[in-house]
Subunit: 172 residues, 2 copies
DNA sequence: CTCGTTTGGCTAACGCTGTTAGCCAAGACG
DNA sequence: CGTCTTGGCTAACAGCGTTAGCCAAACGAG
């Protein structure tokens, strides 16, 4: 394991434990038993670490969605993963996507499960993504009133999507 | 106009011009011709300023949605406002809602237009909100590939919602 | 074996952040 | 007239990301 990977590992631990503001260069260095400036021998700066975390989060999310056979179970898997890894989910979706730092194929791999349940319809997949992301994002931000029945909301929302079926762009 | 209102006004200007990281206590003070510590004579701290901005953003958003007669025009108004005021939208939805600092009625006023177009169905209104917010949030974060036809996505998504109709919770 | 280069640490420092403590002048008021 | 409140001020602190510059150990070539 390279020192760089080690750094990203520690960053992920710090992120999951203490949220984004717990990931500081000095704390990172502390955990590794070195001084903060030494991190720059392995990493260009904090944005690079964040991009690495973002890529890792996308891969984890994609893996969690891979096995879902249909739309309802995909929706459930999406929500479950996000609620279990709220910080990773946040960094995966809130940060502007650093496409130039992303390993090729990562974005596509994350999109694949969504595309699969919409039968390859890009437009429908994006709408579905927006729906799932919006519900999760609002829930994580504590925006729904306490006591709101979010299970019912998800059921309702996904029923609507099933009723709509694939959009006009489907070919296969 | 109290000094406090003046501070929030300046904060809003700074936010819209330079994004969240442009809103610093020292810049705020500079714009007002005073020193940063003097701000604390009028305001408890930065979180209070952010909460005030959040409240203001919610009120603006609510006002922008008020006139929409039906679901499609509501969706269009929602997206239009968010794209025109991305920083305000961000602070309105990304920050955990500081309910204890919020003037009573603000949250309800923001929710009202959504509830109206779902015929009072809370579950449907929340699903609709999740959908609209998710699409806007992903678009603002630059998460859709460049060139994605987002108009089509919105049309598709809203058609699905119309097809679903009001959920089981509607009474009047 | 030895010399030069690269690797990966270090300390000191800069400019920025939010925030606190403490001082002081002007205005309000009994 | 004296006292209290209001709203400024300066100095300072801890923490942030980051840069510059130094240095010892490891490595590779002749």
């Amino acid at each position: 394991m390279t020192r760089r990977e080690e750094i990203v590992d520690v960053a992920e631990r710090l992120l999951e434990r203490g949220g984004p503001e717990a990931v500081t260069m000095r704390r990172l260095a502390d955990e590794l038993g070195i001084q903060a400036p030494s991190l720059y021998k392995h990493v260009a700066g904090k944005p690079e670490i964040e991009a690495a975390l973002q890529q890792r989060a996308l891969q984890r999310l994609a893996a969690a969605l891979e096995a879902a056979p249909d739309l309802p179970s995909l929706a459930a898997a999406y929500r479950r993963w996000a609620l279990r890894h709220p910080r990773l989910y946040e960094i995966a979706t809130r940060l502007p996507l650093a496409r130039e730092r992303l390993a090729p194929g990562v974005e596509a791999a994350a999109a694949a499960p969504l595309l699969r349940v919409t039968g390859g319809d890009l437009t429908a997949a994006r709408a579905l993504w927006g729906l799932a992301h919006g519900l999760v994002d609002l829930e994580l931000a504590g925006r729904f009133p306490p006591g709101a029945d979010l299970d019912a909301v998800w059921t309702h929302a996904m029923a609507a999507r099933v009723a709509a079926g694939p959009g006009p762009g489907v070919t296969g």
